[in-house]
């Protein structure tokens, strides 16, 4: 029992919760943008995975992890572009396309691992991003432990989420995005370019998810391994929904997931006699519970999942 308390109520959990939330929170924000414009994005998982891969690849060939991050953002954005072209341009079913993208990403990244590094489990080790310490903050008791020292992507993530929130709710572009997802016909009538907005949002969601993937392969670890996103893209979508398609609330929801993730990891190395598999299940069960509860509470953008063509709406 005391072991349990020690595992769960440990200050390091809070630190871990904060940093492990990064990929989920970024992808959740991506999902929020995509869905607020009316496009369902189930493909966040694939975009995150692609980002993770591109990050390591970029880092290896340039020797600079920051360039790796750039590669990740571009890679994720490209996958986002594929989703956008299919759903917005070719009127494909949003969900089927998303699933297809995830399968394609999984296969492509594993294939490329073999081609480049001659093995399918993990890539070569690369230079990681290291950590930043906030001078002054890190010496503050408790708060310093939690926030003082982290991978730079953690701080960047927080910054981006705040910027994303501002963009979504405080700028003209954000208003247009929301209008597009709620009532594309009304948006069209007042001169908003529905297609352009959707392309932008979906590609953005890919880049954000890709950045989240970069965290996994360049900050949390220093390599890429097969299917390393492990379902976080779906958790991100659940976090997005639970957070009401709001980047800040999505961050909060992401903490729920990362907290269970942190505990689960801790439990595996502790002396508690609970099987690893049962503990690993926790984040996924949580997602289901959240989804079941969330849908009752929040309302998605009204035109989510529908195709729009000037003149009429179809599904």
């Amino acid at each position: 029992m005391s072991e349990f308390i020690d595992v769960v109520f440990n200050i390091n959990n809070v630190t871990a919760t904060i940093r492990m939330a990064v990929p989920i929170a970024l992808a959740a924000m991506g999902g929020a943008f995509s869905e607020r414009s009316g496009v369902v994005n189930i493909g966040l998982e694939g975009m995150m995975l692609t980002g993770a891969f591109c990050g390591v690849f970029g880092c290896q060939i340039t020797g600079n992890p920051w360039l790796g991050v750039l590669f990740a953002i571009i890679g994720g954005g490209l996958v986002g572009a594929i989703h956008a072209v299919l759903t917005v341009g070719l009127k494909a079913d949003h969900v089927v396309t998303g699933v297809g993208i995830n399968i394609l990403s999984s296969g492509t990244t594993t294939w490329l691992m073999q081609v480049i590094w001659k093995r399918k489990g993990t890539s070569d080790l690369v230079r990681g991003l290291g950590t930043w310490s906030v001078p002054g903050l890190r010496d503050v008791p408790i708060l310093g432990t939690i926030l003082g020292t982290h991978s730079p992507l953690v701080y960047i993530c927080f910054l981006l989420i705040i910027l994303g929130w501002v963009l979504m709710f405080k700028t003209p572009l954000g208003l247009r995005i929301r209008m597009t997802g709620e009532h594309p016909e009304a948006a069209d009538t007042v001169g908003i370019n529905v297609n352009a907005i959707r392309y932008f949002c979906v590609i953005l969601s890919g880049s954000l998810a890709g950045l989240g993937g970069a965290y996994l392969s360049l900050a949390q670890l220093n390599w890429f391994s097969k299917d390393m996103s492990a379902g976080r893209g779906y958790m991100a979508l659940a976090a997005c929904i639970f957070g009401g398609w709001n980047p800040l609330k999505g961050l909060g929801a992401s903490f729920l997931f990362s907290f269970t993730d942190a505990i689960q990891m801790r439990m595996q190395t502790s002396k508690m006699r609970i099987a690893t598999e049962l503990v690993q299940m926790i984040p996924y069960v949580l997602t289901i519970l959240i989804l079941a509860g969330a849908v009752v509470r929040s309302r998605p953008p009204q035109a989510l999942g529908e195709h729009y063509e000037s003149g009429h709406v179809s599904k």
Binding site: V40, I42, I82, L86, G89, L90, K91, A92, D93, V95, V96, T97, G98, V99, G100, I101, N102, I103, L104, S105, S106, G107, T108, T110, W111, L112, Q114, V115, K120, G231, Y234, L237, A238, A275, E277, L278, Q280, M281, Y284, V285, T287, I288, L291, A292, V295, V296, P300, L304, G305, S314, K315
Partner: protein, 351 residues
């Protein structure tokens, strides 16, 4: 007129596969491998000789079930991405039941074990079905989450309760009487393939002939008209997911009892996901699941050979699957190429 449309839809699906393979060829070439060597190995691995053909059938068998599972769910406007998890629970349940019923004659033993596997799959299908019907929770996410849960759960159960004493985490080997009989001596081609075809025929019959099938179709095509017609939309949604889950559970059962002869954690190389590609190609026609499953089984089998002899990673086949789904999913592409309007998943009103 129906037949015409059915044929041209299938033809388009095949074109999608060919296109995907072409893209694959480009990737092979771009990665520095020999395209001719790759694809000739692919072909011989799939069809070149008795052993290859047998491997193709062995690999097609679980795909027949998972493809059918997903295709059936599509009929109700539902997207079952959880076939992977459902097959794991079905597999473990069947193995455990078959082992426990060692005192029954083989036919009964196997029969009950199969039913148990289907039941376990149905149970797993119930959860997302219910959540969707009552709360509108999107079944894609809930089924994917359950995949992880099921995989971990079955692994845990094997390690803790059903372990074969020894170094490997797996169940005890199923004795002769607990297996599905072999169809071709010396290969692992079991009765499973026949059962799969029977399942397709059965579900096809259900869809075409039964009140249940009719109501499920109406719910999938137009839930408002279903309401008008007095159909209980919630109940049919849950039932459709349960049936879909049961069939996917059987995929696992048949694999364990016909090919592997024991439950090994993580034994599935993604049958549940490949099943999605199978269902997407088959479209609205359940019979088409059979050739589609064989097609992908061939790709898997050929892919193995391709990896072995030409050094090309099998993941190429995963990529082909993903591409196929994307190509088939874009109706406008179909219209451009064929003047057809492709609808993979019916039920525009079900988000």
């Amino acid at each position: 007129m129906d037949l015409e449309r059915g044929v041209s839809k299938f033809a388009y699906s095949v074109v999608a596969v060919v296109l995907a393979l072409l893209v694959g060829a480009v990737l092979i070439w771009a990665s520095g491998y020999d395209v001719k060597e790759a694809y000739s190995n692919l072909f011989t691995g799939a069809f070149g000789g008795v052993y290859s053909l047998a491997t193709t059938i062995v690999m097609s068998t679980p795909l027949l079930f998972t493809g059918l599972s997903v295709a059936f769910a599509f009929q109700c406007g539902l997207f079952n991405v959880g076939a992977e998890g459902q097959l794991y629970v079905g597999a473990l349940t069947s193995a455990v039941v078959a082992l426990a019923l060692g005192w029954l004659p083989p036919v009964l033993r196997v029969g009950i074990a199969l039913l148990a596997g289907a039941g376990a799959g149905a149970l797993l299908g119930f959860v997302p079905g219910y959540l969707k019907a009552k709360l509108g929770a999107h079944e894609v996410i809930t089924t994917i989450m359950l995949n992880y849960v099921a995989t971990f759960l079955t692994t845990f159960l094997v390690k803790t309760y059903f372990k074969d004493p020894g170094p490997v985490d797996q169940t005890v080997l199923l004795p002769m009487g607990s297996r599905l009989p072999e169809l071709i001596r010396g290969t692992r081609v079991s009765l499973g393939i026949v059962l799969g075809i029977v399942a397709v025929a059965l579900l096809n019959h259900v869809m075409r002939r039964s009140v249940l099938g009719y109501e499920i179709q109406v719910v999938g095509q137009n839930p408002h008209a279903a309401e008008y017609g007095g159909v209980n939309v919630s109940a049919r949604t849950v039932q459709a997911m349960m049936i879909s889950g049961a069939v996917a559970g059987l995929a696992g059962s048949v694999e364990v009892m016909g090919t592997l002869y024991r439950f090994i954690p993580y034994f599935s190389p993604g049958y549940g996901f490949t099943g999605i590609a199978v269902a997407v190609i088959a479209g609205q026609n359940l019979w088409a699941v059979i050739p589609a499953a064989i097609l992908f089984g061939a790709l898997q089998s050929g892919g193995q050979t391709m990896q072995l002899f030409a050094g090309i990673p099998m993941e190429l086949m995963t990529m082909v699957q993903g591409l196929v789904i994307l190509f088939v999913a874009a109706p406008t592409l179909g219209r451009l190429l064929f003047g057809l309007k492709m609808r993979v998943r019916e039920g525009g009103g079900r988000k």
